[in-house]
């Protein structure tokens, strides 16, 4: 059934990310029903096997967030990269138009 579900490609959304999310939830469901998920498929679903998420326990600070927030290292890296690219864009676009050169902050 797992295989069939994967092959159907979830209609219009056939993205890898979408598939992985569905597979992950489906695997969790099967586990609660007491059925084994083949090990090779689990490793595919949860790759990479190393720690890939950081969990933020925001509930400590605010009652609004009752569930811990999980954010992947990939996402953190991409956000940092986006910030760096924004900085480079600022340097490109404004440095020579007499706006502060932020590069000097870093020596």
């Amino acid at each position: 059934m797992l295989l069939n579900y994967q092959q159907q490609g979830h209609g219009a959304d056939s993205s890898t990310q979408g598939q992985e999310e569905h597979l992950r939830s489906f695997a969790a469901l099967r586990m609660t029903e007491g059925e084994m998920v083949p090990q090779h498929r689990l490793s595919r679903i949860h790759r990479p096997t190393r720690a890939s998420h950081i969990t933020f326990h925001v509930s400590r600070f605010s009652a609004t967030f009752q569930q811990p927030m999980k954010i992947s290292l990939t996402t953190i890296y991409s956000l940092l990269l986006a910030l760096f690219m924004l900085f480079m864009l600022y340097q490109y676009a404004f440095q020579w138009k007499n706006l502060p050169d932020l590069g000097r902050l870093f020596g």
Partner: protein, 650 residues
């Protein structure tokens, strides 16, 4: 062109270049078929490789005609007609075959990221085109890219002009410029160079589409080719390069196609494909024929081929080793012979003309015409740093400044942003999270090789010389950005918005930078081009004076470290580049005697700091000797414009 107002002339020029590119592609397709390579390539690949091979074929034929002293318009038109006749059918058949691919490409624009990227690419290309269609006033074009073809056309022959140390450089692109000038338009010549920028971007985009994109993955992968092209073409440096007849993109396109064919040859089949290897070698030979530096990457690919053969041989069993040993020589020859044959044409010509195959380079070892230790023709070309570790930090500092930190520069009375912008290099930081496929590794190795070598040698040259590295960076960066964006929605949003913002701002900036050119490019009044030259060439009043006030047989001695012969309306001799030829001597009488021998009647002096990279600021080896000559033999100034002064020789 044809005395038409600029706007109408540009329409004719654009139609003409389309026709000429079509003729070249047709000829290239014939070459691909003759070498039995065509069946190994997709239709898109055939068109791209065909363009490069067609340019090569056209250039070699023009060189042949020129060396035979038959450089007349009817002869060259005859050659073009023969090429057109030979290539018409293959071109039409291939275009018919390509029609579904073109339709698919148009359909892919319904995907919003692709539509956005297509607009960015289109605006960048149009902005560069607007700048390219004004009368050429850029230093290198005036000094040799167009100056030499003008001399060839005037003499109806491709001769050695020993006063110009560029005279014996490989000149595959200059042959195409000669065709443009023969047809009556230097804008056609520039458009040849312009087309190589598009060819380079298209070659890398097709490489990305065919060999890097995940076919059944996230829809964003469909945007990879256009993202690659957008990152490359929107870089301000590239918009600057595409406005002139610089040959950097011709080299980049040849090198990119050499890498492409090399990868197809060695990686996509069980055995190395000899014919594709030969195609890679041909592209490498063309790269060398554009510029001496163009041998670096083909050389590196050659070393990679040897390493591959050795690795396969070491890993194989005895039967396999026997097979590899049998095919090794064939593969090495298939790759190396085209490079030697195509590149050898220029080296042989140089050797026959000057006695030095790379004249005037390596004169201290190989000697050659008009070379002596006391009058080295390479002095004003500048020095290159030695192969020392200390060269690396200075090279890095230069490259950082030129690629990322450089302020806009005033060039030809325009202000140009000539760095690579905020996206091209920063996008490489996305690569650590990308899936490392073999074609990506090949691109990285090739870019790293040229970049590392450039740290040692190019740190005193123009950053344009790294065009191939930047092309490969755009390819890798686009792949990295999409790799990271498809990981999660937050990543896609973050990357997508920053990339879109960067591309939009750069393109907006580039589009706005066309303002000083619009009134000339779209003019209906022919005087607009005169006004443009008056505004952007400090020495233009001197050129007008020469045309109006000197006899047709006047000969001008251009005493300038960067002389601009294309616009000098009389025969001329460059005074400074090859001192031994032009008679430079501490003895004014001897020098004067040589000037009389050369028929010099006027001396055009450019008073400025000599541009000789690697020497101390203000270094001028001939300042005092020239002052002695001037005091004795130059008449009163006839006209002064900017730092230029014209004298009569007494």
């Amino acid at each position: 062109m044809f005395g038409l107002p600029p706007l109408l002339a540009h329409i004719v020029e654009l139609l003409t270049i389309t026709l000429l590119v079509g003729i070249a592609v047709g000829a290239g397709l014939v070459v691909l078929r003759l070498l039995r390579i065509a069946p190994l390539l997709s239709v898109g690949e055939r068109l791209l490789f065909g363009t490069l091979l067609g340019y090569g074929t056209m250039s070699v034929l023009v060189l042949g005609v020129g060396l035979l002293g038959l450089l007349y318009t009817p002869v060259v038109l005859g050659v073009l007609m023969i090429l057109a006749a030979v290539g018409a059918v293959p071109l039409l058949v291939t275009l018919r075959e390509a029609a579904p691919a073109f339709r698919n490409a148009l359909n892919s624009l319904r995907y919003p990221p692709n539509l956005f990227l297509a607009i960015i690419v289109a605006l960048s290309v149009v902005a560069a085109l607007v700048k390219a269609l004004v009368p050429p006033a850029t230093q290198d074009d005036l000094m040799y890219h167009f100056a030499l073809p003008r001399r060839y056309i005037e003499q109806h022959a491709i001769n050695f002009y020993p006063d110009s140390n560029y005279s014996l450089f490989p000149q595959i692109m200059e042959m195409l410029y000669t065709v443009g000038l023969l047809l009556g338009s230097d804008r056609i010549a520039i458009l040849f160079a312009f087309s190589t920028g598009l060819l380079a971007a298209a070659a890398a985009a097709l490489f990305a589409k065919r060999l890097l994109a995940e076919r059944d993955g996230h829809p964003l992968w469909r945007a990879l080719p256009l993202l690659m092209a957008a990152i490359f073409l929107s870089a301000p440096l590239h918009n600057f390069v595409m406005r002139a007849a610089n040959t950097d993109f011709a080299q980049a396109s040849a090198e990119m196609l050499a890498i492409y064919a090399f990868y197809l040859a060695v990686a996509t089949r069980p055995q190395i494909d000899t014919r594709l290897l030969m195609l890679s070698g041909i592209c490498g030979g063309i790269s060398f024929s554009v510029k001496y530096y163009g041998i670096l990457l083909p050389g590196a690919l050659g070393l990679a081929l040897l390493a591959l053969i050795l690795t396969h041989w070491r890993k194989g069993d005895s039967t396999e080793r026997e097979r590899i040993a049998g095919s090794a020589l064939r593969n090495v020859l298939a790759y190396g012979v085209p490079i030697l044959a195509i590149g050898g044409v220029w080296l042989l010509r140089n050797f026959i003309e000057s006695g030095n195959p790379v004249w005037p380079a390596l004169g201290n070892i190989l000697g050659g015409s008009y070379w002596s230790p006391a009058a080295d023709p390479e002095v004003l070309l500048g020095t290159i740093p030695g192969l020392r570790w200390e060269s690396i930090p200075s090279g890095l500092a230069y490259q950082y400044n030129a690629t990322l930190g450089r302020q806009p520069l005033p060039i030809d009375n325009h202000t140009y942003v000539v760095n690579v912008g905020p996206l091209l290099l920063t996008s490489l930081f996305a690569l650590p999270l990308a899936r490392w496929k073999p074609p990506l590794r090949l691109a990285l190795y090739a870019a790293t090789f040229v970049w590392v070598v450039s740290l040692f040698y190019f740190s005193r040259a123009s950053i344009r010389y790294l065009a191939t590295v930047f092309l490969l960076c755009a390819l890798m960066g686009a792949y990295g950005l999409i790799s990271i964006a498809v990981r999660s929605r937050i990543s896609a949003l973050a990357m997508g918005s920053v990339v879109a913002l960067s591309l939009t701002l750069m393109t907006l900036d580039t589009t706005l930078s066309t303002r000083p050119f619009l009134s000339t490019t779209f003019a209906l009044d022919r005087a607009a081009e005169e006004r443009y030259l008056e505004a952007h060439m400090d020495d233009y009043p001197v050129m007008q004076y020469l045309a109006a006030n000197t006899p047709p047989n006047a000969v001008v001695y251009a005493w300038d470290s960067r002389p601009r012969g294309y616009r000098i309306p009389r025969p001329y001799v460059y005074g400074r580049l090859v001192p031994k030829y032009s008679g430079v001597s501490p003895n004014p009488d001897e020098w004067h005697a040589r000037l009389e021998e050369l028929g010099i009647t006027h001396v055009l002096v450019h008073n400025r700091a000599v541009f000789a990279p690697g020497y101390p600021p203000g270094y001028d080896p001939d300042r005092e000797t020239f002052q002695a000559l001037a005091a004795r033999y130059l008449g009163p100034p006839l006209i002064t414009a900017g730092n230029f002064t014209l004298y009569e020789l007494r």
